[in-house]
Symmetry: C2
Subunit: 325 residues, 2 copies
């Protein structure tokens, strides 16, 4: 009984705290207004747009939406660090591309081999161990590796305004999910701590795993074989497979998110579709149609306008960018 009383006291404190601005890092403007307006409309029973609690599903891309993705996807930094760490066990890499270029520090040269080179790097660094071993490798990496430009941990390179959106939505009964092209097992070891999103609410790309008995104990071994690519048209497929219902809100930042936002909007009732636009060269990075990472094409911008999606300007809509600011 004491636990219940305590929980009630906590709930009251939370309720009071929420009366304050739930999005303090957002400037007053159309983006903030869209978020608050959507939440108020869908969570008040008297409103026609009301959405029952169980259907309040919100999905978020990760790279470029929740954390930064420049000068390249952070998972690629992880893969490169793994190549260096594993090189002593692979003397043959010295003469074999893409590893030879990588070990000389020539990332561009290594990736010149295109998707095949990238796949080789991913498989060499992400497969061959058990799921538990991989989880430990990722945890150790995020605890120590630093972003080359800011010198911060990668898990500090998260956008404070988006952390506020996650917390605000959850406080209003939404379940928040990540739906990312990144590796599902690369994200799960830290998303709960950093975003408050538990492993079971992370959807991502994956390689196949296989159950093996070792001395009567089962292990899941990671195989060098693609299982699922959670990008573009794959995002609605991944959402359907993992969540089994259509989101009512979706957040992205690139061409890879277009189908997720279209899929979200195609449901009936109130919907919120938002795209983070990286237009702040001073406080973060400015990139868009010309970028290879997180491409925000002119076609995406046109689709957003046509369909009434809200484009978030990092420059104009966000008071602060990173959590440490």
């Amino acid at each position: 009984m004491f636990a219940v009383v305590l929980a009630c006291a906590m709930a009251l404190i939370t309720a009071v705290a929420q009366a304050a601005d739930p999005l303090p890092s957002w400037k007053d403007g159309p983006a903030k207004k869209a978020i608050v307006g959507f939440v108020q409309a869908t969570t008040q029973k008297v409103r026609p747009e009301f959405v029952p609690r169980s259907e309040r599903i919100a999905t978020f891309d990760n790279d470029g939406t929740l954390w930064a993705e420049q000068p390249m996807y952070f998972q690629l930094f992880f893969a490169l660090d793994r190549v260096k760490a594993l090189a002593p066990q692979h003397p043959e890499w010295k003469d074999k591309e893409p590893f030879a270029s990588l070990l000389k520090g020539d990332v561009k040269g290594a990736l010149a081999g295109g998707e095949r080179a990238l796949a080789e790097i991913v498989m060499a660094t992400h497969a061959g161990m058990t799921t538990e071993e991989f989880e430990k490798i990722v945890k150790d990496w995020v605890a120590t590796a630093k972003h080359p430009k800011t010198g911060r941990l990668y898990t500090e390179m998260v956008y404070r305004p988006m952390l506020e959106v996650l917390a605000y939505l959850r406080a209003k009964g939404f379940k928040t999910f990540i739906v990312s092209g990144g590796g599902i097992e690369f994200m799960r070891p830290w998303t709960e701590k950093v975003y408050g999103i538990p492993p079971e609410q992370v959807v991502g790309s994956s390689i196949k795993t296989k159950l093996e008995m070792r001395d009567g104990t089962p292990s899941l071994v990671r195989l060098p074989e693609i299982n699922f690519v959670d990008d573009k048209a794959g995002k609605p497929v991944g959402i359907n497979e993992h969540i089994g219902r259509r989101p009512v809100a979706a957040f992205g930042n690139s061409d890879g998110d277009q189908q997720m936002l279209q899929w979200t909007q195609a449901g009936s009732g109130a919907r919120l579709m938002m795209l983070v636009h990286h237009d702040d060269a001073i406080r973060e990075f400015a990139y868009g149609a010309e970028s290879k990472i997180g491409t925000f094409s002119d076609a995406l911008m046109a689709d957003a306008k046509k369909r009434g999606w809200v484009v978030i300007s990092m420059k104009n809509d966000w008071k602060r960018i990173f959590a440490w600011e």
Copy 2:
């Protein structure tokens, strides 16, 4: 603020209710004792077996564990009803196996073609429509189709003692998941209403889907191609893919659940592994090693004994079987 006060009142009522026996349909015995003992040990902070709330993951097989599975898997009844409903659009089925036998009411003859015949029936009845269309077909079926022996809706053929376990675990902060060899999209339309398990907590077998734009609107079309078989060694794979952490409790009833229970037990700390044994020919069905549906082999029984899993005797451990009793 009123909502918070109301929520607190509800919480207090729930707390009082919980002081009563959480498992009234269970006879006092080793099975009930194992469940209550596990929950008390893992949810009290002072206990060495304490498990943090976020790690309280419990997985349940469906066929034969949460609902009945005799005289054959209910999803097969669904498929047969679909063959009958679709027959007018497929005049060629009259001369084509396995459909010809099925339409004559000869299920045994139809399934004589083994896995290939079964796959043909599944693909003809589960693929070719959008995910939304399939959801509606399933919802209509479960709302009307009746079990041939009891005359009850299939969704009434659920085990009341297991509903109590689900509710008890959830009241104690566990997240309950289904991990079934059955079709994920066949279960999701009704599991929330029947078990209190939302679609995003259902893991099952699946066929592939593909995003298609129709007049600018995206649809997910179900393809006649296996995506994942969530059975035996596939269960730990499915758990890892969908949940991303190891369960602390797992419930099954057949050889198809053996690896899930082994996988659950292989984690550190307190664990609960239970198998429902169908040994009550009078109130339900009695079957085991000799059955083709829900086989409980002698090897499974031996493994359960060796590893200390708790076998639930429907005859001796359950006061009531079905929810309507």
